[in-house]
């Protein structure tokens, strides 16, 4: 742990009155106006909002296997620049993170990179094949201490297997994060099914294929008394089902991606593969519904689904293009625009949905903590008036597949601190 200390001067903690925060030995030493710097490095934070470091529940770091798209090093650098102090690395690597060996490798790579905490997600089934449970207990007991399990990219569509997984992870307080996509209803699907797909002649991915699986899984979770997490909720119907389930007392949590908070399937009319993603961009009504769901807490978290792809996988016709968008370096600006600038969430709400609740879902002890004396100094400083232009050529991520290229956002994360040490500042690694 570092011995250096930093005095954050004039920040507004969760948008409150401007004050000073002294960080030393990895923790918040003191909070109050007019703190003396002593030999601490001073960080001028007047006009900036101080949040707990962001926590991503859904990150594709691509290593091992697709280091041409991203590595743990480059992906966590992108995370730090985006304000994140912890990410959950999805299991659909090559080899799949379905054993203690692979999750420990990813965990060690994260430690070595040091830009943010890396919490590997374990696969639910061997090889993401949906047939046999992976050794969930071994992954939970490994040094990686896996608590979130997901076959993300694929749906655990077999109802019995899903039931068993939900039950089994109770032994170590784990959670199954479901990629809700009924496979038969979405064979060869290219985009949201509706008005736009009908005109574009692209095979539709109907909302019901997501909603039917969510309905089944919340009922299953209720039946066996387990908790379940729903990945990247994208439709109005999904929000309604989750709201209903929470009302019934079912232990369900859910996430939404930044892009589903801002973009609609109208963009697919360009046939620009940057807009190809799974689940697909939906309609304006769905965007309204997921925003409301996030605002009222039905949806617990914003999760990036950061999905890097090399240029050639997007520089082609729509049908051949890979699904996914990078998101770590644009998540906060997008959420600020979709939720804060619209008045749907204040900065307390942003901290809750992007740090506190995701940390709780992942059972992370030292992330998403209150900004109080004695707490670990995992922090993120946001400039709400940064006038931030998105230039993917300047991303720390190895990939450039951002749907927000060329857009300007008001807010951005300007400094990130992990256990008292600056990891990123002004869009660059420290």
């Amino acid at each position: 742990m570092s011995n250096e200390s930093i005095l954050i001067k004039g920040a507004r903690i969760l948008d409150e009155e401007s004050t000073d925060v002294l960080v030393a030995d990895g923790r918040i030493r003191d909070i109050g106006s007019g703190l003396s710097a002593g030999d601490a490095e001073v960080l001028d934070a007047y006009g900036l909002v101080l949040l707990p470091g962001l926590v991503d529940l859904h990150t594709h770091l691509r290593e091992p296997g697709r280091e041409d798209a991203e590595t743990v090093e480059s992906g966590t650098a992108a995370a730090a620049i985006g304000g994140y102090t912890a990410v959950h690395a999805m299991a659909n690597t090559d080899p799949v993170a379905d054993t203690a060996g692979v999750v420990e490798q990813v965990w060690h790579l994260g430690r070595r990179a040091g830009h943010c905490d890396v919490h590997p997600v374990g696969a639910v089934t061997v090889g993401l094949d949906g047939r046999q449970l992976a050794e969930l207990g071994a992954m939970a007991d490994s040094v990686a201490r896996v608590r979130v399990f997901s076959d993300d990219g694929r749906c655990v569509s077999d109802a019995v297997l899903m039931r068993r997984a939900l039950e089994y992870v109770k032994a170590f307080d784990g959670v199954v994060a479901q990629h809700a996509q009924e496979p038969r209803l979405t064979e060869a699907s290219q985009m949201n099914e509706g008005e736009v797909s009908s005109m574009l002649g692209l095979r539709g991915w109907p909302a019901v294929a997501e909603e039917a699986v969510i309905a089944r899984d919340v009922l299953l979770a209720g039946h066996v008394g387990s908790r379940v997490h729903i990945c990247h909720v994208s439709t109005a119907g999904s929000v309604e089902i989750i709201r209903w389930a929470k009302g019934k007392g079912i232990d369900v949590t859910a996430e939404v991606t930044p892009h589903h908070l801002l973009l609609t399937d109208e963009l697919v009319r360009t046939y620009d593969p940057r807009y190809k993603v799974n689940p697909p961009l939906r309609t304006a009504d769905d965007v309204t519904a997921v925003r409301r769901g996030l605002a009222d807490g039905t949806i617990d978290a914003v999760a990036t689904d950061h999905a890097p792809h090399p240029v050639e996988d997007k520089d082609c016709e729509w049908a051949s293009a890979a699904m996914g968008m990078v998101g770590l370096e644009t998540a906060l600006p997008v959420v600020a625009q979709a939720m804060v600038e619209t008045g749907l969430l204040d900065w307390v709400g942003v901290a809750d949905r992007m740090s506190v609740r995701p940390a709780a879902i992942g059972r992370l002890q030292t992330q998403g903590r209150p900004i109080e004396r004695g707490e670990p100094a995992n922090l993120c400083l946001v400039d709400p008036a940064a006038d931030h232009f998105v230039d993917p050529s300047r991303f720390a991520s190895r990939s450039r597949n951002s749907p927000f290229a060329g857009e300007t956002f008001a807010a951005r994360s300007v400094a990130t601190m992990l256990r008292g040490q600056l990891t990123a500042r002004d869009g660059k690694l420290v």
């Binding site: 797909s197 574009l200 002649g201 046939y271 082609c316």
Partner: protein
């Protein structure tokens, strides 16, 4: 006119009428001993076909050659494309060779759009059929054929029957005919109409017989037998009974109504042989008109603005 022809929906009414009028003018060439104009001499038209379609390719080839363009046929089969060369690299190769127009047929919806907007090539792009999206020159030749038989298309009743869900012909026809002022009714089993069809500029029906009495033109779409394996309909026989055009149904049509099909036909499935070969069937003429319409499209996209036969006197 735009520089490209990607969607029938991109055409304004005046664009569409200009193409149809130009095609009519160019069609006169067919009656001459020398069926060739010097208009596109020195220009290169590439037929870039990623999908087998001999009919459409030779139609474009004939059109380009009658305008004296140099034609390069690039077929995906037996070429570098089947060895994994990307659309981008193929496009860059064509650009390096100096293609003035690329006529593209591709199994992926939107591929012509990508080709035109990627910056890979500088020439004009003509969509010759992309996936289940569009086939705008087919719609133009259909409208051309209707005009010849029905006069003005405006106010006409057109019934399009069959696999609308997977049909690029249906999409382009709905858009173009709406622009031209015709009223279109799509007829299909509900499984073969896309979700979202209620937003299209046309009506639809599940009952073929109920719409026959008012039709000025009936267009039958090709139905692939494999669709029944994916439960779109129970059997070929049931499909024919409910949605096929046979003599009994043809008898319900008004006297002047024409029967159309973009080809290739499945005789006995969506259309019986008697109907296909009947006097009111204009299916063979559609093929002829295809050449004129494609000549007009190439002529106008590659910069022609004056009367297409200008300078070449009627008696030349």
């Amino acid at each position: 006119m735009n520089r490209h022809l990607l969607s029938a929906g991109d055409l304004s009414k005046s664009d569409a009428l200009l193409i149809l009028d130009t095609a009519a003018e160019l069609g006169q060439l067919a009656d001459r001993p020398v069926k060739k104009l010097p208009t596109l001499r020195g220009r290169t038209v590439v037929n870039l076909f990623f999908e087998d379609s001999t009919r459409t390719r030779i139609s474009f080839e004939a059109a380009a050659k009658r305008l004296s363009a140099d034609v390069i046929n690039f077929s995906a089969k037996g070429s570098s494309v089947s060895k994994g060369e990307s659309l981008k690299d193929t496009a860059l190769t064509l650009e390096a060779m100096g293609a003035d127009a690329v006529v593209i047929r591709h199994p992926a919806s939107g591929a012509p759009h990508t080709l035109a907007n990627s910056g890979w090539i500088g020439g004009s792009v003509v969509n010759a059929g992309d996936g289940t999206h569009e086939h705008p020159t087919q719609a133009l030749l259909d409208a051309f054929t209707m005009r010849r038989h029905l006069g003005d298309v405006d106010g006409r009743e057109v019934v399009v029957v069959g696999d609308v869900l997977h049909s690029r012909v249906a999409r382009s026809n709905v858009l173009l005919l709406a622009t031209l002022g015709a009223h279109v009714t799509l007829v299909a089993p509900p499984t073969l109409l896309p979700v979202g069809i209620d937003t299209w500029p046309c009506d639809y029906s599940y009952d073929f017989d109920s719409v026959l009495g008012k039709a000025d033109a009936v267009m039958m779409l090709r139905v692939q037998r494999e669709r029944m394996d994916a439960a779109f309909f129970p059997s070929a026989r049931e499909y024919s009974r409910r949605y096929g055009l046979d003599n009994d149904r043809m008898a319900l049509l008004p006297e002047h109504a024409i029967v159309m099909h973009p080809g290739p036909m499945n005789r006995g499935l969506e259309i019986t042989a008697e109907v296909a070969d009947a006097g009111r069937s204009v299916i063979v003429e559609q093929v002829t008109n295809g050449v004129s319409v494609r000549m007009a499209v190439l002529y106008l996209l590659l910069g022609g603005s004056e009367s297409a036969l200008g300078g070449v006197g009627e008696d030349a």
